[in-house]
């Protein structure tokens, strides 16, 4: 084979590899963009939560990060995908069950504040910045740079086996 042929072959290989890389990379990027990220205020003192820990926090069983720092849940209003995914994956409840859970908790005085409903990801992110100790769930591609994304079981959105896909 001639050098030019070799170069052509290598060029083709590169093209195929690049195509394949682009193909696979773009698919991975698209998958990562559809994952729901657990975003936290910078004051939140953890970077990684187990699924169980995260579930306890979401159920209101853990209400404080530290003695001076409350957990504030910012949850999207019904119909939003983030909410549906949250109810399905963590709460394992339907919408009425979720509502009843918090009403009961409030009336049993097991908590003084429940999750705060937000109507959009922007609102969630806006409040997240404002409220120390707050966490919210937004699509991973909507997370602005600089915000703290907490790992679940050591995985970030886009990672294989991530809980909120």
């Amino acid at each position: 084979m001639s050098l030019s042929g070799l170069l052509k072959t290598m060029r083709r290989l590169l093209l195929v590899t690049g195509f394949l890389w682009v193909l696979f990379f773009q698919a991975g990027v698209a998958q990562a963009a559809e994952d729901i990220a657990l975003v936290a205020h910078p004051t939140v003192p953890v970077d990684n939560l187990s699924f169980v820990q995260a579930r306890k926090i979401l159920l209101g069983n853990h209400q404080y990060w530290s003695p001076d720092l409350r957990v504030t849940l910012l949850i999207r209003a019904p119909v939003a995908r983030e909410r549906d995914l949250l109810l399905k994956k963590f709460y394992e409840m339907s919408e009425p069950q979720f509502r009843q859970h918090w009403i009961s908790k409030i009336f049993r005085a097991e908590t003084t504040s429940g999750p705060k409903v937000v109507f959009s990801s922007d609102m969630a992110l806006e409040l997240l910045v404002l409220i120390p100790g707050s966490i919210t769930f937004v699509r991973a591609d909507q997370v602005p740079k600089g915000l703290k994304v907490i790992q679940i079981d050591g995985r970030l959105p886009g990672d294989p086996g991530y809980s909120l896909q």
Binding site: R70, T112, S113, G114
Partner: protein, 534 residues
Amino acid sequence: MKIQRRLGLSFLLILILYGVNLGLYAWGNQKRSVSVEVLQKALSRQVLFSSIKQKLSNIQKEVTLLSQVMAALAAEGLGVNEIKHFRAQTALITSEIDKLGRLSEAEMSREIKSFEEIYLGLSQSWQIFYENFGINHAKAIAELAVRADPVSTHLMVDLLPRLYEEEQMRVETAVLNYYQVEAWAKQMTRVIFLLTILITLTIAFFTSRYISLGLSKLKEGAARIGSGTLHHRIDIQSQDELGDLATSFNEMGQNLLSTQEALNEAHETLENRHQEAEKQRQNAESLLLNILPQEIAQELKTKDRVAPKYFEDVSILFTDFVGFTASTEKLAVDELVLALHDYFTAFDQISERYGLEKLKTIGDSYMCVAGLPQRKPSHPVDAILAAFEMIDAVKKRQVSENPAQWSVRIGIHTGAVIAGVVGIQKFSFDIWGDSVNYAKRMESRGISDRINISDRTYARVKDFFACTHRRQLSENKEKTFEMYLVDDILPGLKDAQTLGPSLAFSERYQLYFQRPFSSHWQKPIKNTEMPFES
């Protein structure tokens, strides 16, 4: 201390105790009122705490539910009514906190003030939440999450429960204090009441005992003084009324004793004088009786005078010693008087035994009368019996040792006489009448140691005595005296042993004169058996 003062002080002490009791009761009531007031305030605060807590909890729940559950339903914000209702609730809570502050004490008030300030901040946050809810939702949630939730949690979880707990402790303390005050006041009231009763009883016991003992001593002392034990003294040394009374009693006793001693002395003096007077009176009476019959003397004493009395039937007895004139030449005067005294004393005794009344002696002549002043029909017999004994008495003295050996003539006549007292200084009871002269004649015409009686006398005694008739002419030969010499008692009436009246004599005497015969007869004694008493 005077009893009045003691009683007054005791009464004052009891009053003070009652006053203390009353004061304690009032103090207890006041403390109870304060306790009740504190308790009421505490309870009111507790109610307010509960109410505030409940309202805060309600709002918090409402806010929490709104923020998480109802948010989707209120996308266009809350209505005017909801906001108005929220404001009314917060205003009500503010009002109740204000009221709580007013009901609280200074220390608590500061905490309430702090609580109010925190609540006001919370209220503003909630208001921002309500006003922005559904409109500027992010602001509402941010306000809620950043400010309201931590504050409300602090209020509901920390501050309010702590205040409520403190208030609960205050209520418990107030209740405990109330019961303590109640119990203490009751206990003290009981103690003072019992103390009052005890002191009252003690005072009553000792006072009554003291007065009773004192009065008993006074009563006993008065009784003893009253019964005559005037030297008795009441032993009460106290300086009170009882002591004064005892002193008065003792002084009275001393005065009575002095008076009694003086009275005794006066009585003794009077008694001596009385005895002396009595002695003098008896002497006088004796003297009077010597010269007057008892009845006459009595009449003279009572009436100062004696009315002349007529006695139609008496026996007059005269004696006259034979040999007296011769003796006057032989004997000294005092011997003579002594001898006369001896004879007449014997005659007096005999006259007295037989109830004859001696009238007088004239020289050696002795005159007595039977049958007066008490009238008795036996007087002639009595006179003769007495005459027999007079002769015996004279005979007894006819012994050699006697320098005045006389015999005696006795004459008796029975008849009427007038009797009376003459004179005002030297009384003299005497009788007057022919019978007296006749009796004198019977004596002068008699025989030595014999009894010469008149025929009238004889007529009265002939059933008792044996007599020998005699007859004599008067000096002028114009009148004849029929006389009898009494020989002896009739043989049938004479006792063989005593030679005096026998039982038959006595029976006859009683039959004739209707009166018992009391024999005064004394057995004649031979001259040798009777020593002469000069």
